[in-house]
Symmetry: none
Subunit: 217 residues, 2 copies
Amino acid sequence: MQSYTEENYLKVIYHLSEISNPVQTNAIAERIQTKAASVTDMIKKLSEKELVNYVKYQGVTLTEKGKLTAINIVRKHRLWEVFLVDKLNFKWDEVHEVAEELEHIQSSLLIERLDEFLEFPKVDPHGDPIPDQHGNFAELAFVKLSKLSPSEKGTITGVSEHSSAFLKHLEKLGLTLGKRIEVLEVIEFDGSVALDVEQQKINISREVAKHILISKY
Amino acid sequence: MQSYTEENYLKVIYHLSEISNPVQTNAIAERIQTKAASVTDMIKKLSEKELVNYVKYQGVTLTEKGKLTAINIVRKHRLWEVFLVDKLNFKWDEVHEVAEELEHIQSSLLIERLDEFLEFPKVDPHGDPIPDQHGNFAELAFVKLSKLSPSEKGTITGVSEHSSAFLKHLEKLGLTLGKRIEVLEVIEFDGSVALDVEQQKINISREVAKHILISKY
DNA sequence: TTATTATTTTAGACAAATCTAAAAATTTTA
DNA sequence: TAAAATTTTTAGATTTGTCTAAAATAATAA
């Protein structure tokens, strides 16, 4: 069994390793809001427990065991987010912090019953997939909006950035889950994208486009 | 804001002070599964934060501030128990440990929404009353006999345990529906209760008293 | 390819919560 | 009421997770 803190490190390493692998000490420190020295200490501890592979100065990767633990926390986090939005009427930009706490509750009975109560959801309110109890993700076909070319169409099915600033920005632009979009133009100068959303032409920066997930069907 | 550990101490002191006030160091140590020395340390800390009144060797009482904090944790615990039983089909004897964890989640929005979702329950699955967000308990038609203080009177109007062993025990003691009782004394040692029933003085354990419901009118 | 800069690790310290062992205070018993 | 037993507190140590400052390593630039 891992401590609350250890769980947080594993989760953060899991998320960061989707961007780059192995994960750097400083990247973890920034995400966890702590100092690099503290990260090194914790990494050593996780390494002794065989939850991560660690080579000095080279960064960390999760072991199979560490990855399963991390995915389990992600599962709990996303199920709780569904609960908060579907049952308690939280808005999608209000759920993250509370789910950060709830994800550490230790009871597999609780989480399986919650899954059932929510009718086995496959994605969370941000469109991120929810793994099953064995750590397997359902196959979901989506692409970053920033990867689409002019004239390509699709439906917004998720985001890969969950700060409330970002989510509020999207709401203001009318870019919410389920909306149908078409790419009109990709500006060479800065990579920004011109879109058609419900007959409205809007422009978004490449930074924003990168975090919008599109299903092409 | 209090730590997880501080919250636990406050909650335990709150519950123990219903049996005897002030609360002894050893009583807390036993409940929290720790050593008396550790309790003394924590009590000093809580005292500095003005959450408890502490006199060396005399035990502790909660301050108004400490009591409110404790009641708030009790509120959260009981609301989560209702959720687990009513929504996730937990049995009433499976909920306690999970609720012990859930009660420490910090989000008043969460707890108010949960209250609403559960349709503002007044009692938890064990029949214990759920205080409102200001720490007030609703006046209930029934009170557990174990909650009465010396000299309080009432009429036996129900039980919250239906095993035949328990019911036979009550018959033997003459504690049947409709009988008028008066609490003579609550024994500090084990929380057992001395009663007057039809001019007879009898003693019952706290465990039994907990399952006898009294109407005070 | 050496110098500079950035990143990471080590060493030693600190705060929170706990522990053991011994001392102090209180309560009970004789 | 003095001795014995119990309860509580103190003193000093330990564990977990963190920190600062300095040293080591790696990456980048001249």
